[in-house]
Symmetry: C2
Subunit: 156 residues, 2 copies
DNA sequence: CTGAGTGCAAACGCTTTGCAAGTCA
DNA sequence: TGACTTGCAAAGCGTTTGCACTCAG
C-alpha cells in the first residue's frame, strides 16, 4: 500500500543535497559567508523543480528561516547569478524567474495559460543562429529564445 | 553639387507619410481622436528607422509639439500596440523599445556594445520552432528570439 | 573580535493611473 | 456641447541600496 517507495524519495533527497553543496561551494569560493539565511535559500533553490520568482523563493525559504528578508533573497540570488550557478530569466510581463544552472544550455517554452515552463534544446537552431550572426559580421555573446505557447486541443 | 537628389528625399517623405496614415487610420478605426499630440507622435514613430524607447520618442515628438507629455506618449504607444500597428520589445536590461509593425515578422540581434539593433529572419528557425512545440503538444502563440552579439574583429 | 551580512525602509527606474482642466468632433 | 484626451503628480511594481545592528568565521 506504499505508493511512494522509500528508495525513490531518498534518491531525490541526496541529489538535492548535492546541488545545495554545489551552490554553497560556489559562494564559499567567491569568499562570501554562508549564513543561516543563505543556507536556507540555497536549499530551496537546489530543490526547485520549477522556475520560481524571487517572491516565491522568499516564501519557501521563509518556511525554514522565518526571519529571512526579501532583500537578502535578492542579494543572494544576484550573487549566485554572478557566480554563474543560477540563471535569471525575464519572461514577458513577469517578475524575473530563477533556476539552478544544473544542465547544459536550453531554451524555454512558456504556457501562456498556466505559466508553466518547459525546457527544450535544438542544436540545429543554435547552429543556424551562429551562422546568421557570423554572416552579418557578429559573434553571439548570448541569446534568448522563448516560445509562448498554448496546449493543442484535439479537434474542437 | 547637390549630394542628396531631390527625388530620393521626396521618395522617403512619401513613404513616411504613408506610414503615418496607416497609424492614424488604425487609431481612427479604434475610435480614438487624433489630437495634435498624437499626430506628432505618429509621425515620429512612422519616421523612426531605429528602435527608440518611450523617452526618445517623447524627445522627438517634443520638437514638434513642445507641450506633449511622457504620459501621452506611453498612452498612445499602448493604444497603437493593442491595435497591432507597432511592436513593443523588451530587450535585456533596457526600457521597452518600439517599432512600426511595417514588414513581416522578424527577430533581433542586439549589439551589446552599441545597443544597435539588426533585424533578421530565418524561415528554417521558425519551422524548427513550430516542430519542437508541436512535438511537445503545443501551438506557438508568439515567440521571441534575440541574439546579443558583438562585432567580429579581424584577428586581434 | 570585526568586517561581511542582515532587516528595514527608503529610493530606484520604468510605466501606469487618478484627477481636474482642456480640447476635438 | 460633452465625451475624450491631456498634463501633472502620485502611485505601482519589481528590484536595489543606505543604514545601523548582528553574527559568522
Amino acid at each position: 500500500m506504499r505508493h511512494t517507495p522509500r528508495w525513490r524519495k531518498f534518491g531525490r533527497m541526496i541529489s538535492i543535497e548535492t546541488r545545495t553543496q554545489e551552490l554553497t561551494g560556489a559562494l564559499r569560493r567567491a569568499g562570501v559567508r554562508i549564513t543561516r539565511q543563505r543556507a536556507a535559500l540555497l536549499a530551496v533553490v537546489a530543490a526547485a523543480k520549477d522556475h520560481p520568482d524571487a517572491v516565491e523563493l522568499h516564501r519557501r525559504a521563509h518556511e525554514k528561516v522565518p526571519g529571512i528578508s526579501l532583500s537578502t533573497v535578492y542579494r543572494t540570488l544576484t550573487e549566485l547569478e554572478s557566480q554563474g550557478v543560477i540563471h535569471r530569466h525575464q519572461f514577458e510581463g513577469e517578475a524575473a524567474r530563477f533556476e539552478h544552472a544544473k544542465t547544459a544550455h536550453h531554451d524555454h517554452m512558456i504556457d501562456v495559460d498556466t505559466g508553466a515552463v518547459v525546457e527544450f534544446h535544438s542544436e540545429r537552431i543554435e547552429k543556424l543562429q551562429a551562422e546568421i550572426a557570423a554572416a552579418l559580421g557578429y559573434d553571439i555573446v548570448h541569446h534568448r529564445l522563448e516560445l509562448y505557447v498554448r496546449r493543442k486541443r484535439a479537434a474542437d
